[in-house]
Every structure is written in structure tokens, then in C-alpha cells.
């Protein structure tokens, strides 16, 4: 939280009692979460607790059935929007498993995505020169070689390169809300620092970040304002950063066991 404003900032993301089902199985079971502008939230939980489902439901991936509840982004009903409309409204999903798209190069994807968002906001499209200078400043930050812009999206990339590419896209698109699904998984410590740097560079009083993660090590580098524990499709405990550290010490059973009791 910025802390300088006398009144509490308006909610950027407001989820109320969300229930969702995939493949006949209820995976979100009355989840509520409020994220205000400028905040960084971490959502932690054991495997199968519904973390990725939450990310996919918010981004609009097909195959997930909303049973009840609401999710609003800046007052707009997210669940009524098509996936591309959610993205243009300012939601960015950093994928846990970014797909490879041979034949569509990174620069083309970045430019198409950026200009789609700009058109939506009534801004003129960037010309080739401005686009490249914008992208180059971000590739440097992410320690990505420029030659990579001419390669197919994620084509032949290592796991770490794919994750850095996700963060690069996020930095170029400058979303209002970044939802990063296990962006730290599969990263060695150097790559983790690069990714964390990128995420931190996006932190500002006008944006929010939700980190979905299994381990707390990313949170050493991107320090969250709030930590939530997800179990069986709902948030069972919330706290500040110390909750993540305690989870690290005591394991998820400590919280999920309590919730079950």
C-alpha cells in the first residue's frame, strides 16, 4: 500500500464468493479477494488448491464454468468479457506454461498486442521506431538478446527464457493488473532475480500485482503487501509477509489442516 493517501485506494480487482467448475469438478468454492491499486498480493497454496484455476478463470480461459459470484476489474464485470477484452481492460496473465508458437515472431506478437491495447484506449498505434526503442529498453532489463525478437514466440526457449519472455510482454503491455501464475517455477536463482527485477520495475501506485506461487522464495525478491493461503478453492488465511515465512517453516498442512478442523 502506498500509505501516503489518507483514504483507502479504490479496489482494482474485486472478487466476491466466486465458485467455478472445470471438468465436472468444483475448483473454486466461494473465493473472495480484494486487491487495491498499488498493492502486491501473493496467493499461495498446495498443489490442487485452485491457484491456477483462479488465474485462468480471471483471464477467461475456455472450459471453466462459473457457478456463482462476481469478479470486477475497476468496476467492470470481468466475467462478461471475452479474454481479449479482459486483456485490453488491463489484465495480464503470465502463464505457468507459456506455449510455443513457431512462425509468429516475438516482435510481431508484442506489436500486435501493444497496438490492440492502444487502439482500445484511443491512443495512436506506435510506429516501428518508437515500438523498437520501447521494446529494447525492456529487453535490456530482462537480459534478453535482441535477436530473440525475430524468433518464433517461445520457440525452442528454455523454461527460464519462456518465463523471462512472459515478463517482457508484461513490461511492454504495462497492464493495470498483472496476474503471474507460478512465474518462479523452473527458474534458477539468477533467472529468478532477473524476473523479480522485471516485476518490481512494474510496481507503482497505479498498478497491482497478484503473484500465484507454491514457494515463498520469489517473495524474498518481490515483497508482497498481503499473503493469502488458498485451500480447496477458497482463501483460508490472509496475512502479511510473515505468513509466507511461517508457511515455509511449518508447511501447508499447518493452515489447511486448521481450516479443515
Amino acid at each position: 500500500m502506498s500509505g501516503t493517501a489518507p483514504e483507502i485506494a479504490a479496489p482494482l480487482l474485486d472478487i466476491r464468493d466466486l465458485k467455478a467448475r472445470v471438468g465436472g469438478q468444483t475448483v473454486l468454492n466461494g473465493l473472495s479477494l480484494t486487491v487495491r491499486t498499488g498493492e502486491v498480493h501473493a496467493i499461495m497454496g498446495p498443489n490442487g488448491s485452485g491457484k491456477s484455476t483462479l488465474a485462468y478463470v480471471l483471464a477467461g480461459r475456455p472450459g471453466y464454468e462459473i457457478l456463482s459470484g462476481t469478479a470486477q476489474l475497476e468496476g467492470r464485470d470481468l466475467l462478461q468479457l471475452a479474454p481479449e477484452e479482459r486483456a485490453r481492460a488491463g489484465l495480464f496473465l503470465g502463464f505457468q506454461y507459456p506455449v510455443e508458437i513457431p512462425g509468429v515472431n516475438n516482435a510481431y506478437l508484442l506489436k500486435a498486442a501493444l497496438n490492440a491495447a492502444r487502439r482500445d484506449r484511443g491512443q495512436p498505434e506506435l510506429d516501428a521506431f518508437d515500438f523498437l526503442s520501447l521494446v529494447r529498453s525492456k529487453t535490456q532489463l530482462m537480459q534478453i538478446d535482441d535477436s530473440f525478437l525475430g524468433r518464433g514466440v517461445n520457440e525452442g526457449f528454455s523454461g527460464g527464457e519462456k518465463k523471462r519472455n512472459e515478463i517482457l510482454q508484461m513490461l511492454v503491455l504495462e497492464p493495470r493488473l498483472a496476474l503471474l501464475d507460478e512465474t518462479d517455477s523452473g527458474l534458477d536463482i539468477d533467472a529468478l532475480k532477473v524476473v523479480a527485477n522485471g516485476v518490481n520495475s512494474l510496481r507503482s501506485a497505479t498498478r497491482s500485482i497478484v503473484l500465484v506461487t507454491h514457494y515463498q522464495r520469489l517473495l524474498d525478491h518481490v515483497v508482497p503487501d498481503f499473503v493469502h493461503v488458498l485451500a480447496r478453492g477458497r482463501i483460508v488465511r490472509s496475512g502479511d509477509r510473515s505468513l509466507a515465512l511461517e508457511l515455509e517453516r511449518r508447511g501447508y498442512d499447518w493452515v489447511t489442516g486448521q481450516a479443515a478442523a
Partner: protein, 432 residues
Amino acid sequence: MSETAPAVRASVLARVLRDFRGIAADLPGDEFAHAARARAAARLTELGWPSTRDEHWRYANLRAFERLGSFGPSPAAALPAPLALPPAVPGFERLTFIDGRRVGAAHPLLVASAPPLATAPSWPAEQRLGLLGDMFASDTARLHIRGAAAIEILFISNPASTASYPRLELRLEPDSQLQLIERHLALAPTSAASAPASPALSLTACNVTVELGRGATLTHYRLQQCHRDCVFSDSVAARLEQQSRYAVRSIAIGGGSARTSASVQLAGRGAALAWAGIAVGRGEQVHDIALTVQHAAPDTRTEELFRGIADERARVAFSGHIQIDATAPASQARQSLRGLIESNGEIDLRPRLEILTDDVRAAHGATTGRLDEDVLFYLLARGIDRPTARALLKWAFLGDVLREIEVPALRAEAERLAAGQLPDVPPLGALP
């Protein structure tokens, strides 16, 4: 062939032969050429009209031949003016043929007055439609290349044409180089008041023979952009001497029914074929491509790349048969065939490697599917709208072949033609 040919097939063959008898005496050429035409007719009679029950013709749209008006070549006619021809490709000299006949003055590269040769190739049964051209063709684009050249041959079928028989005969002397654009353009009948409500289809049946001398290089761009009332059939026979290279870049987007049947013989040591083709069908279009490659000499190579898209109710078929003889050790063959199905389209890919020697490196892959929903969602999640996302993916799919077109102006045009065939693809600009 089956001995009990159904009545419709007999009737197509009977009409071919009747039309041939009616005009054979008026066709150009000396007595030897007339004898060659008669031999082609006799050969077709012997083979019979093809049937889709025959494996080689299973995916061909033979019913379209029943709707043809006449098999006799249309009389020479001027093109309706004004006519917008495709823009010239820089660096290429253009030679124009209308309804299979040369238009314009004599040209030093063309062998003058060229009726079909008396020694036309003997087409095998799976290429028997090549016999139609041997029977009916009036002229031949016969090129005999020494040195280097870049030529575009524009074969135009007149809107009023019922049948045309373009012929192309290429001979490259040793170490010669030719870049060739072969373009087929059948102009749609204008919406004149005289046009019947359901017009008969027109036929374009094209024969191509290629002989590459030792060390010769031919890059052969083929663009088939006929209108939808055109039944297009082409028969290609190529023979490669030692160390010669034949690169084919084929773009098939036109014709209501199109059949390409090609056979390539790698006859000399070190000869190499690189065949890259796309076929994009929509509506009721049928594209059926059959390519047979015979490795007859050591150290020969084949690279085969095919990308087909079948949209709406279109059918696209590609059969790639590579035979590596016992006389062809140390040969290499690679096939990569991929099909993309949209809505109710149908794709049939048939890779086939027949290897008769031990010392061979061969690989083949054939996959057919729809656009990957996970990939599509990834693009949507970046804010790219659905039509653009789908277009990007289809574009990427065709890119493997389009990128092989090394002439920039031609590549841009091929991209434009391909995009025009994809219902939801806005112009995307150049491929990366």
C-alpha cells in the same frame, strides 16, 4: 483398372474421344505430331477414364469432368480489354500464352512454332490426364536454356474458353540456371447477360516436362490462381541428371477442382529435389496433389514440404510417394506434410517411403489438426482479437512454405493470394 466401368466414366471418355475425332484433323502439327496425338488417344482409351476407386485417384474430384462443356480447345480469341494482368515481377521476362497459344512476337528463348513433340512422354496411369494435353494442345512453351535466365510464363484462359491445354517443356543444358514463374490464370466469365445461370465448367489441362542437365539449377515457382468454374489438371514429369537441383515452390489456391500429378526422377548421382507447396481451399474446392519421386542414383536428395488448409467444405489431399531404389545408396529423403482443418474442411495426407536399399537417411511426418485452442487462448490473453489471432496462426502455418519464395515481389503476391483464400484473414503485411 476395373473392367466394368460405370456409365458416367464411359461417357466422359466417350465425349473426350468424340471431341477429339471431331477436330483432330484441324489441330496443328505435321504427320508425326498427328500420329503422336492419335497414340495419346489410343493410350487413354486403353487405360480408361480414372475412377476414385483407384487409390491414385481416390481424392480427385472426377465428377467435375462430367460438367465440362467441351474438350476441344477453344479457338484463338483476343482477351477482353481492359484486362488487369498481375504486376510484372522485377527481373523476370514475361511470356504470355492465351488458351495455350503464344501471344506476341517471336522470342529468342522460345523454340519457334512448337506443336507437341512427336516424342511426348508416355504418361503412367496415375498421370493419364496428361494424355489430354498430348491429344489437344495447339502450342508449347518450349524453353531451351543455356546459361542463366529468369522468365515468367503467364498462361491465361479466356473467359469464353471451354478448354485450354497449356504446355511447358523445359530443357536446361549442363550448369545452366533458370528461375521460372509459371502462372495459371483462368479468368472468370464476365457477368454478361448471355451468361447462363449455371455455366458449364471450363478445363485447363497443363503438361509440364522438365529435363535438367548435369549441374543445372531450376527454381520453379508455380502459381495456380484459376477461377472457381475452372477444372484444373496438371501433369508434371521431371528428370534430373547428376548434381542438378530442382526447387519447386507451388501455390495452389484456385480452381473449383484441381489435380496436380507430378513425377520426378532423380536419375543422376547427387541430384536433388526440394518441393515446397501450399494448397488452400475454401467453399467446395478440391485440391488433390500427388507427387512421386524416384531415387535412381546414389547420393540423391528429396526435401518435401507441404502445408494445406481446408476451410468451409473444401477438400485438400496430398500424396507423397518416395521410392529409393537399390541403385541409390547414400540417399536422403525428408517429408514434412501438415494439414489444417477449419470448419467442415477435409484433409488427407499420405506420406509413403519405399526404401529398397539399406544405406539411406529418411524421415517423414504427417499431421493434421485444427488450430490449437491453447495457442489461440495465449494470443487472446494478450489482447489480440480472435480473427487476427486465427489469421496469425494460419499465416505461421503457411509461412514454412511462403518463406521459401526468395523473390520478394513474388512472395508478397503469394502472401496476398493466400490471404485472399482465408475467409477471416485481414491483410497482415509481410511475414516476418
